[in-house]
């Protein structure tokens, strides 16, 4: 019974971190689906969001709730800004240039934050507290419930947006065929910016949830988080929204279970091993559409 309750609580931990991965993976997947860009800077948008929360609480003295909203707004703005400044000039450039630019943006953000705020981690005071849930011998913390709940709501909202609204339809059209969508009167710039805004807003939510869970922000927190979320997106099938969610939870659970088995130092290795296996066995991921190569 004791072992069982450890397992259950590890699974809940896994779901909690998986929810964050899933939110971030959604952003990767959306951006990749629409302009075929692996947005390396996406992980660092989370970092900026987390710093926004820290800054507005520690320096501006704001209440947690407005600082969270501020963080989401800052992330959204940053995502659109990056897209406008760095990616739009390269829209017709080779994919490799775009990828290198994305790496450049990621490193620029990381290193400028390191320069401004120092390399150390900034501790964020407890954002939200509430009663924890006791089920038998297992305790589910409030932040775990909140994280999972918020991410599920976000995912449902995003799915509704993409499937049912006009903008979502435009997004799907652009990802299907960019030039044909343009001929149908869809504004390319607006749709792509909107995609970046949505993805970055989710990253902002992810950063708030991250802070609720771990309570720390550091300049390099985004890179590993981003990479793992990307693995999640690949696992689920890049470009597929439900795939990104499944992938995120799967990565979170894998990490938790590897840690539960006492192999926590191999956690990162296990995640990347999943990536390699997926890419070799089924590069399109669990729910991805097969890519057809055109000559």
């Amino acid at each position: 019974m004791h072992l069982f309750s450890i397992l259950i609580s590890q699974i809940i931990n896994g779901l909690q971190s998986g929810a964050i991965y899933a939110l971030v993976a959604l952003g990767y997947s959306m951006v990749y689906g629409i302009i075929l860009l692996l947005n390396f800077a996406h992980g660092d948008i989370i970092m900026v969001g987390a710093y926004a929360v820290w800054f507005s609480m520690a320096h501006l003295g704001l209440h947690p709730i407005p600082s969270m909203l501020l963080a989401v707004a800052a992330s959204t703005l940053l995502g659109v800004l990056i897209e406008k400044l760095a990616y739009t000039p390269l829209r017709s450039a080779p994919r490799l240039s775009l990828l290198i630019t994305a790496i450049g943006v990621s490193f620029l953000l990381e290193n400028s934050f390191q320069l401004i705020f120092g390399a150390g981690a900034q501790t964020v005071p407890n954002l939200i507290s509430g009663p924890s849930l006791q089920v038998g011998s297992v305790t589910v913390s409030f932040s775990a419930m909140l994280t999972i709940l918020v991410s599920v709501i976000c995912m449902a909202g995003l799915t509704f947006l993409v499937q049912k609204t006009k903008l979502g339809k435009a997004m799907r059209a652009v990802s299907e065929n960019m030039s044909a969508a343009q001929l149908m009167g869809i504004s390319l710039n607006r749709t792509i910016s909107f995609t970046f805004a949505m993805g970055s807003a989710l990253a902002g939510v992810g950063s708030v949830l991250y802070l609720c869970t771990y309570g720390q922000a550091s300049p390099t927190m985004g890179s590993m988080l981003g990479l793992k979320a990307f693995v999640a997106a690949v696992l689920g099938g890049i470009g597929s929204l439900p795939g990104a969610m499944i992938g995120g939870f799967a990565i979170g659970l894998t990490e938790a279970l590897v840690s539960a088995a006492g192999l926590s130092v191999w956690k990162d290795g296990a995640v990347f091993a999943i990536l390699i296996v997926v890419l070799l066995v089924k590069p399109t991921g669990l729910l991805g559409k097969p890519m057809v190569e055109k000559v």
């Binding site: 290198i100 630019t101 790496i103 490193f107 130092v265």
Partner: protein, 344 residues
Amino acid sequence: MNQRKAVLPMSARYLINAALCLALILGLKGLSASGLLSDYFTKILILVGINIILAVSLNVATGYLGQLPLGHAGFMAVGAYTGGIFLKSVNAAAMSGAPLVLTIAAAILLSGAVAALFGVIIGVPALRLKGDYLAIITLGFGEIIRVVITNIDSVLGFDFTYGASGLKRIPKFTGALNVFLCVVMTCLVIHMVMKSRHGRSILSIRENEIAAESCGVNTTFYKVMAFTMSAFFAGVAGCLYAGNLGSLQPGGFGFMKSIEILVMVVLGGMGSMLGSVVSATVLTILPEALRSFDRYRMVVYSAALILMMIFKPSGLFGDYDFSLSRILEKLGVGKKPAGKEDAR
């Protein structure tokens, strides 16, 4: 200007280059013997040399093959640990004279060979993918190499890589001379391969993979070959790096290091050996020359990367390569050479 189109015979070209390299070695020896070249400058020269090897070797996979591997530091780590463990286990610190020279040569070759082996193991599956997927899978492999080096000791049950605390007391064998020789050999081998039939096959894959395949180029073979060559020389650079520092930490071979090497290649111009050499030199000397600049180094690098991609995606030199024989031929044979870089 000059109507006479003289063509230098190959043997003359090699002779000129060999003579120039020899002159440079002697000059280097003379400088360090006369004390003009201080220890500090020698250290910087060594770093420049190691970075040139890294950049030129990554350029094979990035510039010539047209892929974007992000795990170059992983191969460097493999080479560094191979060299370090080998030198420690044969107790090279107690050697001198000819056995030492042979041991060092063996260590460098072994490091390259083991890194190349990893290159094959990683390249065969990774090169089935293209573009971003290849970038990501090599990144994954690079990270796995780092994780394995950090944690392998607990699996093996004895001290092998000394985990996160680092491999220490590696004999410091790296000097300006052997780094210089390795740089020359690296550039020579890569240059010669790229000018051969195999090199043209590699370039054809970059230009258009499907067209190359339909012309009968065995694309899988040549991709793996280029990737392996790239890994080999990264391993060589790693071995020299180990011999320069005397201690190794797995954390030094992360994603950040791979990106630093990539920045050198991209700024110099993907596909230009001259570009890689020049930008590796400049980017190594610059932070040393401007000590206070060191803090801003990565910020400036990343900004330069973005601006370069937006305004001049081909890099500083594009795919232009310096050729001494071309200049000599233009001037007519017999003029004084202006540079030293043909074979490099």
